[in-house]
């Protein structure tokens, strides 16, 4: 059992600290949220997000139906799916697990875009068709997209889906029901979740709530909030009874944001563009000056 603490994620987890955290949780759930995470959430403007508690999901797949309806997509097949598709922006993945912590022997995991705080897709997009809005959703603009699919190459979760069979293809993915968000309503999936597995709110509130659940029911949960730090933090957060790699979440995810992987390279660009041309010009002048002189000697 691996129980990384919400703060100090680089250090190995120790039983002492774990019990300390539990104690903290009992004292007050709010305290369990590290000041670091709070500062980060505030720096990012505290976007909207959704907390998915997979221990509460019963796999009814109402969310997939209302999502399709709301986005004008065909009625989804009444079965579990591992990944989203151009016609299914959200799916429910049923994972059969032989684990005493999993009561039914199956864990249902709703999958959709995680709306990263610093999305790889948006920083990859050369037309800014993929765009991180201030309120949280990562949206796609069909008037700007040229269909290069670089967002798909970069997304660590393989979320953006491309309509390969259309002459006028679009990139399809969850938009967090941005239309409803603007009216102050929660996304369709959350509004229609009867099991209470989905909670909508500001990310800092959701993190506080998640830590509270981990603290009040330490044995019911794997002590980790997926999305708190993964890929630099995501707007969708997950709780589960078992480690997340057993639920099909990608392993070896970066804890830093993916756009930061290209930062050094992009910083180098102006350096090269300003320093290399004068250097080359200098070399060229020096060489030709030399050759002209040397040429005279040979000539005479």
């Amino acid at each position: 059992m691996n129980a990384p603490a919400p703060d100090h994620r680089c250090e190995g987890p120790g039983p002492d600290r774990r019990s300390f955290l539990r104690a903290l949780g009992v004292i007050g759930a709010g305290l369990a949220l590290s000041p670091q995470a709070l500062a980060q959430a505030e720096a990012e403007g505290d976007p909207y997000g959704v907390l998915v508690d997979t221990t509460l999901c019963v796999g009814c797949r109402t969310c997939t139906r209302v999502c399709a309806e709301g986005h004008g997509l065909p009625v989804p097949p009444d079965q579990c799916r591992e990944t989203t598709s151009p016609t299914q922006l959200t799916v429910v993945d049923g994972r059969q697990l032989d684990d005493p912590k999993v009561e039914l022997g199956v864990v249902f995991v709703k999958r959709q875009c995680l709306h990263c705080l610093q999305p790889a897709c948006a920083s990859a997009c050369l037309t800014r068709a993929m765009h991180k809005t201030e309120s949280g959703p990562v949206t796609w603009d069909k008037g700007k997209c040229m269909g290069c699919r670089y967002c798909m190459v970069c997304c660590p979760f393989d979320v953006p889906k491309f309509e390969y069979d259309s002459p006028t293809p679009q990139i399809r993915k969850c938009d967090l029901c941005v239309d409803r968000l603007q009216r102050g309503e929660p996304p369709r999936c959350v509004a229609n979740c009867e099991a209470g597995a989905l909670t909508f709110g500001r990310r800092s509130e959701l993190l506080r709530e998640a830590h509270k659940r981990l603290a009040t029911n330490p044995d019911g949960y794997h002590q980790h909030i997926f999305g708190e730090h993964e890929a630099g933090g995501t707007s969708w957060l997950y709780l589960a009874a078992v480690p997340f790699d057993r639920l099909g979440f990608p392993k070896d995810l970066e804890q830093q944001s993916y756009p930061s992987l290209t930062k050094e390279f992009l910083y180098g660009v102006p350096v090269v563009l300003t320093l290399v041309p004068p250097l080359l010009l200098g070399i060229s002048k020096a060489v030709h000056h030399n050759q002209a002189n040397g040429g005279d000697h040979v000539g005479h």
Binding site: M146, G147, E264, F265, L273
Partner: protein, 426 residues
Amino acid sequence: MSATDKLSPTPVQKELARVLAFLKHELRPRGKLLTPFNLVTGGIVLATAVILCFRFACGIGAVTNLDQQYPWGLWIGFDVVTGVAFAGGAYVLVFMVHVLGMERYRPIVRVTVLNGFLAYVFYAGALVLDLGRPWNVINPIIGNSFGVSSVLFLVAWHFMLYMFAQLIEFSPAIAEWLGLDRVRRLLERLTLGAVILGISLSLLHQSGLGALYLMAKGKIQPLWYSEFIPIQFLVTSVFAGLAMVIFEGTISARVFHHRASAAFHFAQERIVIGLSRICAGAMFVYLFLQALVFVHGRDWLAMTPGWGAWYLLENVGFVAVPCVLFALAWRHRSTLLSRIAAIGAMLGVILNRLNVSVIAFQPNAAVRYVPTWMEVVVTLGVISAEIWVFRWIVNRMPVLREDTVPATVTVAAPTPAQPSPRRKEA
């Protein structure tokens, strides 16, 4: 008002009429049309046109095996990511000749720049075929939506600017062909500026092609991923480009024998040997870099039997071996060995670029991507069309020779090629 003009045309109008008549004459095909090469490539280009009709009518999925996990396949991985490396010879060679003053390589500058330019034109063209919404391709150009945080934005802009720089570098040959002497002299004055801009842009977009994959961390088999991908791509472009120059020069010297100047033929051997030496050096640097990256990234942990063997095949069989062959070719002045080494090095670069972009990409995917025959045909069609245009230009313009020797050469006299012929004649 224009009555007097019509009666006595101005010199500019006369010149224009002459150029138009000349162009009309030059546009006609020359030589036999029904050669085996023309028949084969003609068939491929025709098939490509048919496939592309399907692609634009029914979507990219109708002709390719691309899927949600493999958004980029052969058209990007080979045409663009590999092709641009092979076009790298142009910036390396103009650096050697125009900046470092290595005059002995001047006879092949024009043909190399032309090759580079056409490679960019056709591979950028191939890129448009791969775009899902090509009608929006102007968006990052006209400035209504600049994605400046994107490496792809940088690469796209540098592609365009570099094509422009290469066109300026090559333009004196066009002016010579059209007999526009004053225009040629004007354009020649722009060469050094274009060369310097072109080299700077090349440094950035050759490495930028590698930087495209920085965010794909976790999706590429660790043996082919490191934070040094941009530098690896830059170094490979040096010897990929020069190996291509050796390979292409060998073919050009035979096919276009009648179009080349005596100086070109004479210089060919010395050039090939000289380039071999540079290739050996660049490949040695690359091997050293690979070793550092391997140790630094603790890559032995990723050496599974299959991937490890594949990695060793690439880096020993197609980098280390060609590197040694290049060194031997230089040592023994053997152009044959150079050519063998060049082919080996080129295969190594193809392997490396395809590994990063396609073969070692998403190694755990349930369905691995394998290109359809149609993707292969379109790739061959793009190459065929490029060869046609290349041939058309070489058969007409002074590419393998310079009709008028530029003043700069005669002034900056001590071309290393000059003393030796005298010695031979004596």
